[in-house]
Each structure stands twice: as C-alpha cells, then as structure tokens.
C-alpha cells in the first residue's frame, strides 16, 4: 500500500469540505431542527453507549444475511443450471427478465400481506431484490465460458462431475462473485427501505423512529451515515472475494 495515504488524500479532503460546508450552513441559518456534524457525533455516541445502535445494526445485518444467503443458495445452482441447459434457459429466462426490473420496494405491500410485519417480510424483500441479479450473472457466466476450454475438457474425456467441478463452476466463479457483489449491494439498499415500513428494529427503523419520536434529526443522519459505512464495508468484503487467486485470471485484464 505504498502511497495509499497520498492517493486517498483528495477524497478525505472532499469529505472534510462537505462536512465543513454543512457545519457552516447550519450555524449560518440558525436551524433549530437540522443538526450540526457535532450533534450527529454526539447522538451516535449516545446510541452506542446505551447499546441500541448495536441492536439496530445487528438486526439489519441479520436480515440481510438471511435474505441474501437464501438468494445465494437458490441463485447459484439455478443460474448454473440455466446456463448449462438450454431448455431451462429459454423456459425460465423470460419470467426472470419480467420480474427483475420490478423495484423491491414495489413488493412491500405483498410482503406485508404474505409475511406480516415480522422479520420474514424484510428477509423476503432482500431475497427478491438480490436473487435476480445473481441468477442473471451466473447464467451469463456459464454462457461466456470460452469454447476452447470446453473443447479441451471434452478432449480429455472427463466425467460430467469433473467437467462441472473443474471447468464449468470455476470458469463461472468470477461472474458469480460479480453477481454476489451486485446482489449484496441491492440487499443493503432494500433492508433499510423495508425496515422503514414496519418492525421495531434495524437501521431503517432507527431513522424513521428518530424522526417520528421528536424530530431527532441528529439520529436520522447518524443512521444514514452508518448505513453508508456498513454498505462500504460489505462491498469491501465482496472485493476480497475478487482478489482470490482462483479468480484473478478474469479480473487481471
């Protein structure tokens, strides 16, 4: 990481400038409701100290973990199957292409109808949000395996199992990881939206509840920033997957 600090210096500067302008504007306008960055930090510390912050973060992460995990468990095998078996692709792809552009937010009424206002609703919404991009990426990953590799496998006359484990799956893995990265990103967007509608925990709930219970905009903004930071962290974890040696070949050029 030589020059890492130098490289991130401009971005740190931009953030500092934004925070500075924010602070100046709030003081200049003498706003009674909109908090200063200082107030946001104080509010965050308050939440951290009484433990509610961790509960909200934990609740949101748990929902994302379950919804996203279920989506991965379905999307990867299904995507591989659709990529490999032409009949499965032509049968299922049109349906998924119709479902895919529907915003997960549009599913909220149906989620509440089917699953009520418990944990199942946001988990379902996260599942819906992340499953389609992962299916699409996995399928296209199989479709774009270079013919020369499939031919080589055919030449050596290996079993179907070996063909799948040593060629099809690893060849598709980089695309699967891209799909997971997109899927997790969408999942994190959706969990917050879903928690704003119902429930009594989670970062989305924290934001809406802070506003409703006495215009605590310091906590609203604290919630937003924490969501952003955790989103960044989740993306960082997915990036770690991209740096695995087994997939370097695909991202190297």
């Amino acid at each position: 990481m030589k020059g890492g600090f130098k490289q991130s210096l401009p971005s740190i500067l931009v953030i500092a400038v934004v925070v500075g302008i924010w602070w100046a504007v709030v003081i200049a306008t003498k706003s009674a409701i909109f908090p200063t960055p200082g107030a946001v930090v104080t509010g965050t510390l308050e939440l951290a100290r009484d433990g509610t912050l961790w509960e909200h973060i934990g609740a949101s992460l748990m929902r994302v973990g379950l919804g996203f995990g279920l989506a991965v468990a379905l999307a990867i095998p299904l995507g591989l199957w659709m990529g490999w078996v032409h009949g499965a692709f032509v049968t299922l792809n049109p349906l998924f292409q119709i479902l895919r552009p529907i915003s997960p937010i549009a599913w909220i009424p149906i989620a509440i109808l089917w699953f009520g206002v418990g944990n199942a609703s946001p988990i379902f919404l996260i599942f819906i949000a992340s499953v389609f991009p992962m299916i699409v990426q996995t399928t296209s990953g199989v479709h774009t395996i270079e013919k020369r590799f499939l031919r080589a496998a055919e030449n050596f006359g290996v079993s179907r199992q070996k063909l799948f484990l040593k060629v099809v799956f690893p060849a598709t893995l980089p695309q699967i990881i891209v799909g997971m990265r997109i899927g997790l990103g969408v999942a994190w967007l959706v969990v917050v939206a879903a928690e704003m509608i119902a429930l009594r925990s989670g970062l989305g709930y924290l934001i809406i509840d802070s506003r409703n219970a006495g215009n605590r905009y310091d906590l609203v903004i604290a919630g937003m920033i924490i969501i952003g930071l955790i989103g960044l962290m989740l993306d960082g974890i997915m990036r770690l997957l991209e740096s695995m040696k087994i997939v370097r070949w695909r991202y190297a050029h």
Partner: protein, 249 residues
Amino acid sequence: MRTKVAIQNVRKTFEKGKERLEVISDLNFDVRDGEFVAIVGPSGCGKTTLMNIMAGFLAPDSGAVLVDGKPRIKPNSKGILITQQGSVFPWLTVKQNLLFGLPDELPNREALADEYAALVGLKGFENNYPHELSGGMLKRAEIARALVVKPEILYMDEPFSALDALMSLRMQNELLRILAIEKHTVMLITHDVEEAIHLADRILVLSQRPARIQASFDVPFTHPRRVSSPEAQALRVAILKELGVTEAV
C-alpha cells in the same frame, strides 16, 4: 510401419445462408504409427477444419477418419489437440491442469503430474497459476497436460504461432527433445515451412480451398536438423513453389 491414421475420402462443406462453402474435397492420406506429419497450405484453405475433423470435434460430411482402423467419431484422450490459442485452464494451477486429464483412481497421478511438469521444464512452477507464467511456459504446460495422459496422437494446430520467433524456435527444439523420449504420432498444421522442415518426417502441401493434397515431401534429414543447410533450403524452395511463392535463392 503400420498405418495409424487414415483419412479416407473426407469432404466438408459449410453452409452459410444460401452460400455453400466447400472446404475439403475428397481428401485422402495415411499417417504411419510414430510418424510426424506436417500439413502446410495457404491461409483459409481449411487446415483447421481438417484438424478438427481428425481430432473428432467435427464430423465430415462424407468419408471417414480411421484411427487404428476404427472410425473416429468423437474426441478422446487418445488424441489430444493443441491449438494456437491454447487451452490451459486459467483457474487451475499448472499441477491441477496436469492432473485434470488423469483419472481420479490412478494411484500415481500426483507423481505423474510432477514428472511431466519437470519433463517440460516447469519444475518449481507446479503451483503457479497460468496468468503468472510467460507465453512459452504456458505452451510447455499445455504440452505437458497433453502428454501426461499418454496420448497416441498429438494434433497440433499452429501451436507456436502466437509466440515470438525466438520462443517458437526454442519450443520446436523442446518438442523434438520430448518426442525423442516419448514416441508419438504427430500431426502438425503450420504456415511456417521452416518449422515443418525442422520438425516433420513428411510434409503435405494442401491446395487452395477446397483442400486437396497438392504435394507430399519426405524430409530425409536426421535430427538435429540444420534448416540452413543447402538440402533443407532446396526443399523449402520446392515447398514454397507448391504454395505459389517463388523467391530468389
């Protein structure tokens, strides 16, 4: 020596919409067991199509490819195809690539993979991924992966064309060294006449599309060969003449 591969009345036509493109027209030749046959011809004459048919990836419209007297319909590990592009799996290490074609139940497969990695000069690179190797090393890995399954025939389609001239020459010598240890039947497609003279026992010249055998040259020189020798140069001129190229010697 007995006949290993027989190409009998092979024809192939591709249809593109209304257009019919006759690529190979009534091709016949035999390859003896352990023989190294190079096939040269003008570009676009159907050499690669011929290779794909011989290796079993493509079915001829009529005629047959016989290996040991039996028709070859599908590819199998008795004959491995090596192409210009290469097909070493980039997601497997060199060792894993070598193990790929070996049956899981083979008891000494690990040792075999190491042995062939060493044979092609990749000792110490077994655990490297292909993107960590140079172009020449990648070719070595590909050759080792082909040889480790003990194929009877190697089909090489412009195997060294993507390499620079020096590396190509080095790999040709390397191939000869390996073939001296393991006697294979080899069919090499190349546009490089000197490469053909350097390597082959016999050189077939294909005609323009549709491909027929236009001429056949035996290469009587013993290894190691000097392509710059007068005899070799005379052969080169004769082959180039068949290919429609005349040049001042």
